[in-house]
Symmetry: C2
């Protein structure tokens, strides 16, 4: 992927997909080469602040609610009673905030390798970090794969993999070996969720392969949910859930409907809708 901020536009090209998405930017607010990646923050004309890692759009103020709500709430309302939640990646803290909206959660640990992302989020996306001082929040800056290796068996209720694309550093997060270690640290009834790319571009490749790898890693059920995400490739995105000992295509519908917090996108009806896969996708996932 490459960027081309010409004439005041930030254009991200998705070379493998042959498509591009752009935003009109006002100014670059931050530019930092961290030990792990190139981190930039821009102000845009219509989407608020924009965070970019290694030339790839991570989030904007305007549309990050879609991704953050859909990676957090379906998994938490699928688990019967989530108390211990772990987020691998997610350094912008937006997923952590959504997790901590659930009053039953007793501890939520975020493990991102790059502290600079969290510091930039605190400065440029303060609303995403507003739960960081919740006493139930624990922020660690470490290698998430190693953290999972060292984590005791049967100790986590919900494990969220909030990663970048499965090329380069995040590739291992989509492979059976890592998924089996994730399965091991989950308690019985545990739920894992992973961002799983575009339904249009990746149903017959990344999404199908991830579901197969999850099953081979020992999970008892998988389910993919789809939702819009305008600033990611194709504007259409997915998360895939995997269950240890439970069915992840069902969820606590009453609890979701009577949730104690406000949401912009998530609802019990939206959760059911997201589980509804179009025929072309069902065929590709089966094939």
């Amino acid at each position: 992927m490459s960027e081309q901020p010409l004439d005041g536009w930030f254009i991200e090209r998705f070379d493998r997909e042959g498509s591009a998405i752009g935003l009109k930017v006002q100014e670059k607010l931050h530019d930092e080469t961290t030990p792990w990646q190139h981190l930039e923050v821009y102000s845009t004309e219509t989407h608020g602040h924009l965070m970019v890692l290694d030339g790839c759009v991570m989030l904007t103020d305007r549309d990050n609610f879609l991704y953050h709500e859909m990676i957090a709430h379906p998994a938490l309302f699928t688990h019967a009673d989530p108390k211990r939640v772990v987020i691998i990646g997610g350094g912008d803290c937006g997923t952590l905030r959504e997790v901590l909206r659930h009053p039953g959660v007793e501890q939520a640990t975020q493990i991102d390798i790059d502290e600079a992302v969290t510091r930039a989020a605190e400065r440029f996306f303060p609303q995403l970090t507003e739960a960081n001082h919740d006493p139930r929040a624990e922020l660690r800056f470490a290698d998430g794969v190693k953290w999972v290796d060292d984590c005791p068996e049967n100790s986590v209720d919900v494990l969220i993999i909030d990663s970048t694309d499965p090329v380069g550093p995040a590739e291992g997060l989509f492979q059976q070996d890592f998924l089996a270690r994730c399965q091991r640290i989950l308690r019985d009834g545990g739920v894992m969720v992973q961002q799983s790319e575009s339904p249009l571009y990746h149903s017959g490749s990344i999404i199908r392969d991830l579901r197969t790898a999850m099953t081979q890693a020992g999970f008892d059920s998988v389910a993919t949910l789809v939702f819009p995400q305008p600033t990611y490739p194709s504007g259409w995105w997915s998360v895939t859930l995997a269950g240890k000992g439970g069915a992840v295509d069902r969820f606590r519908e009453t609890a979701a409907r009577e949730r104690s917090f406000a949401t912009e996108y998530y609802s019990d009806a939206q959760h059911r809708a997201a589980l509804t896969l179009p025929p072309f996708m069902a065929r590709l996932l089966a094939g």
Copy 2:
């Protein structure tokens, strides 16, 4: 909107929305200034052929199934027994093809002002025009607004407005005066459907205003359906249905489930999911 085909990329900038979408192109296959607009066709690296009108992406081979299925099938499965269908716009013939998949349809008339669009579709998107020689198909190249004016009252079951954005030539198609004339030509139980732009960008403006105008034009019910559309602004799109004497938030679910034709995106479950509006959108439409 403007285009910038730099370095082999066609980039469409949505200036009002401050965002852009692009596709990697191989070559320009066609360039024509019709009496009505500037028509271009490109071959792309990953999305098949691309049609562009006045610099705006109209459709690609790869993702047009989303829009065409969702502007046609929800309206036709909402109507109790659609026999006479009219399409205003839709010169690429993709909507006509979907309409004619319904065996109960006796006549489907497409009225697009620009014959050059249909001729280009026949040449570069032959699969979209494969139903043009169906004896039930009628293609007219004329002003759709005037056609509606001249159409007898109570003569149409489903009226599909398959238009460009509500700026410039298509602006009148979103206004109460035209909508009232559409209501007049529908039979009792008739259904109108209109493309209604992006849920992210336009819920509190174009979509809400269209729904209000439909109600003021005499329609008895309205319903907006949402679905992904990667090559339109935000990658997330909507159609809005309006009913003359019937409720358009319900549909013939059994008939949709047991449909006699294959679809890529549409299904009865997908129809229900598309009617499910996220909380932020429901608030904006109510507000």
